[in-house]
Amino acid sequence: MSIKKISKEQPKIFEFNSKNLEISKKIIENYPKGKQQSAVMALLYLAQRQNDNWIPLAAIKYVGKFLNIPYIKVYEIATFYSMYNLAPVGKYFLQVCTTTPCMIRGAYDLVEICKNKISKNQGELSKDGICSWTEVECLGACVNAPMTQINDDYYEDLDKEKFEKIIDQILNNKKPKPGSYRGRKNSEPENGRKTLTEFKNA
């Protein structure tokens, strides 16, 4: 993972809306007096939510001023964590897991499809601007590999055809059904096994 690109087009002003302002005050109250800086990650996430899932520089400054932290410190945090986006992402933001278990089960096929259908490079918007994708490290759903996260939902047990269908739906601005695409409930064993001793060579 290389260093995150910062968008060249930046809005000039960022401010929390009244709802987020209230939430942020509550978050700050969670911390002891004088330690309000600890709220920085939560506030950055709040800012990201408010601003179409990405954090502009104006928001970094705003959060810095809000918590009385030097800008560079907020900037360090925003660049460190991969869940903060520093450039605009699509309405549908795909995070394709490419860590070992997913990779073995064919994650790079999914990446190929993203490259063909969405945009040539990760972090770029699709032609109609509705969708973007990125490779990420393990999202913790290895049992259901390969998988992809689209916005807040996991799409699991994928293969080429199923993934292509999902992307076609997204590109038509329809939200596909989340969960396993092989009909499993969460990460239950396939073919209804309940214990490991039932079958040999399970």
Partner: protein, 676 residues
């Protein structure tokens, strides 16, 4: 005391030290990159690995607190293998550009790879490339070389007090940068260059100038401000290539301000290397003989009382003493002063014009009040010590004026002389605080001594503090920040011509009462020239030389030995690192030769005689009169701190291209107001 064993050597150390410090004490050097005595511990370079008994893995000695009975080994095969492994990882992404790197020859990574490096690389992948960052006109970056020790970040945050440097990204892709690549807004930024163990941060003005082994190194004293930082001047032939700090725990630790470090290119520009005479409004080159002749003729035609002299801000004490003798015995004129402005000075007692508690004493104080001074620009190193005192003891700090960012928080109380009157008359909250504080520290700047009630402020405060027993043998709470390297030295040598606390010489100069005016390196004089015959003796063609009729070329502070007394009254010797350019001479020689021509008798046979006489004078004129209470008049006026043009405060820095760049940079920031 803790007892440890390092490589079978027993060592006893105080509690709270680390294993690395214990090993140092036992005499075993530990290689390191990220650890630095004056900075917090990071423990991220892993170069200082040592073996500890009962530990399955080697430990990072810089981050491990030493405990009683530890058995440490620093020279086992395991340790060497571990360090070799660390070094291999550091070198995996480090470019092999030592031949074109400015750090070459004084690079920690280069030195340590001689011991722990492997001769060939097993790293087959592409090396990481990092785009260079802009950090202002002083710091050149070559970020591919960075090994992520974070010393620069820790320095900026902890010592300089400007949180502007940071590390963005993570892992291999971590990059050191300022926020959006703005230039670093600190007067101490140059120190990150010394701290950088590799060539990632190097000096921009010094780029590709010289190799460290080609330079002649002279340990000397800085004169850019009155602090008297200890420095090392590196010269190549005549040219001063760079200035580095020298460790002195009592004054500057191991930091110097950017003005100290980067003014050195001003020693090459605007130099006067031959005598000049003004004819029909234009300067003409001439010889020493003709110039001397003209001066001697003029002096012989003039009454002694019509001759005056002003000494300058960078003049060393030998020259000051020679000039004093020259005026006393050769010319027989009393009109000599060192002040180019109307500063109030009570020189009955030395305590009245020095920083009594000493620079290190700031840390003991429990209350600091700044009156008419901005220590950040007037004495950068002193400001750093105030910051350290604040960090250590959370000292309360008050200022009578709004000084902007001082790198530590302070409270502003109204900036009028009325406030001081109230404090003295017990009508202000601050008076109680001063009375209750054990060791209050009142710092007066030159700006407040210049105003009409300068005398009132000083004398009444002194009286108030004496009555409250805040001025005693252990602690003198009234302290003065001098602005110039020569100030305290001049006062010690009594180069003051006061009557009723007025600067008569300057007053008479401004009234155009003199016929001949000597300016010994004095460039801050503001007056309207009438018919005076002005003789300028100095090193740079600046404001003083501009209005002169005869210019005699003198030497700069790196070109002659000289004593300077810093603001806390500590006398230090500056050593000659280079020699005066062209036909110019050391300042005291010029005075001596003039005296010879006027009276056919030299003042001194040689310099050692001059130095002996000077020290004799200082010894016989110790000022410790316990002066009586002096009456003074109160004026209600505003105490404003004079805006110091930090990068342009003396002839050397004014001639320096680097300083001009810094100044432009700063102005640009102020004008566009990009803050916020």
């Amino acid at each position: 005391m803790l007892k440890l064993k390092v490589n079978d050597t027993d060592v006893e150390i105080e509690e709270g030290l680390t294993v690395l410090q214990a090993c140092e004490k036992a005499g075993f050097e530990i290689p390191r990159f990220c650890y630095h005595e004056k900075l917090s511990i990071a423990g991220n370079c892993r170069m200082c690995l040592v073996e500890m008994e009962k530990s399955p893995k080697p430990i990072a000695s810089c981050a491990m607190p030493a405990t009683d009975g530890m058995i440490i080994k620093t020279n086992t095969p395991l340790v060497e293998k571990a360090r070799k492994g660390v070094m291999e990882f550091l070198l995996a992404n480090h470019p092999l550009d030592c031949p074109v790197c400015d750090q070459g020859g004084e690079c920690d990574l280069q030195d340590q790879s001689m011991f722990y490096g492997i001769d060939k690389s097993r790293f087959r992948e592409n090396k990481r490339h990092v785009p260079d960052k802009y950090m202002g006109p002083l710091i050149k970056t070559q970020m591919t070389r960075c090994i992520h020790c974070t010393r620069c970040i820790r320095f900026a945050t902890e010592i300089a007090g400007v949180t502007e440097l940071g590390a963005i990204g993570r892992g291999e892709n971590m990059e050191i940068t300022t926020y959006l690549e703005k230039s670093m807004e600190s007067e101490l930024s140059g120190n990150v260059i010394d701290l950088c163990p590799v060539g990632a941060l190097t000096s921009k003005p010094y780029v590709f100038e010289a190799r460290p082994w080609e330079l002649k190194k002279t340990e000397t004293i800085d004169v850019m401000d009155a602090v008297g930082s200890n420095i090392r001047v590196d010269t190549y032939g005549w040219e001063v290539k760079r200035i580095l700090p020298r460790i002195n725990e009592d004054i500057n630790d191991e930091w110097i301000s950017d003005k100290t470090r980067y003014s050195c290119d001003g020693l090459k520009n605007q130099r006067i290397d031959t005598p000049y005479i003004k004819e029909n409004g234009k300067f003409k080159k001439t010889t020493w003989q003709i110039a001397y002749q003209k001066i001697v003729e003029k002096i012989k035609q003039t009454e002694p009382d019509k001759i005056a002299g002003l000494t300058g801000d960078l003049t060393n004490m030998e020259t000051l003493y020679a000039v004093k003798e020259f005026f006393n015995t050769t010319i027989k004129s009393k009109n000599l002063d060192s002040r180019s402005d109307f500063y109030y000075i009570n020189n009955e007692n030395r305590q009245n014009y020095i920083f009594n508690v000493s620079i290190n004493g700031i840390e003991d104080s429990d209350l600091i009040v700044l009156i008419g001074t901005n220590p950040r620009y007037e004495a950068t190193i002193l400001n750093l010590k105030i910051r350290q005192a604040y960090l250590k003891n959370k000292t309360e700090i008050y200022s009578l004026s709004n000084l902007g960012d001082l790198t530590y928080p302070y409270e502003i109380i109204s900036g009028n002389t009325e406030t001081i009157k109230n404090i003295i008359e017990n009508k202000n909250d601050l008076s109680n605080k001063i009375i209750n504080a054990k060791k209050p520290l009142i710092i007066l700047g030159q700006s407040v001594l210049k105003i009409k009630s300068g005398k009132y402020v000083f004398e009444e405060l002194k009286n108030f503090l004496t009555n409250k027993n805040k001025i005693n043998k252990e602690w003198n709470s009234l302290n003065i920040i001098s602005n110039n390297a020569s100030t305290v030295g001049s006062y010690d040598l009594n180069i003051i011509n006061s009557n009723n606390e007025k600067n008569i010489t300057l007053e008479r100069i401004k009234n155009n009462e003199f016929e001949i005016l000597f300016l010994f390196g004095q460039d801050d004089l503001k007056f309207n020239k009438n018919n005076e015959f002005i003789i300028y003796i100095g090193s740079h063609g600046d404001k003083g030389a501009e209005m002169a009729d005869v210019i005699l070329p003198g030497a700069a502070y790196t070109e002659q030995d000289g004593y300077y007394t810093n603001l806390e009254g500590r006398i230090q010797k500056a050593y000659q690192a280079s020699y005066p350019p062209g036909e110019s001479k050391e300042d005291w020689v010029i005075v001596n030769e003039l005296s010879n021509l006027l009276k056919r008798k030299k003042l001194y046979k040689n310099k050692s005689e001059l130095i002996d006489l000077m020290f004799n004078y200082l010894k016989n004129n110790i000022k410790n009169n316990d002066s009586n209470y002096l009456e003074s008049i109160f004026f209600n006026e505003k105490i404003s701190v004079e805006d110091i043009d930090y990068y342009y405060s003396n002839v050397v820095s004014r001639s320096s291209r680097t300083m001009s760049e810094c100044r432009n940079q700063k102005m640009k920031i102020q004008v566009t107001g990009t803050e916020g």
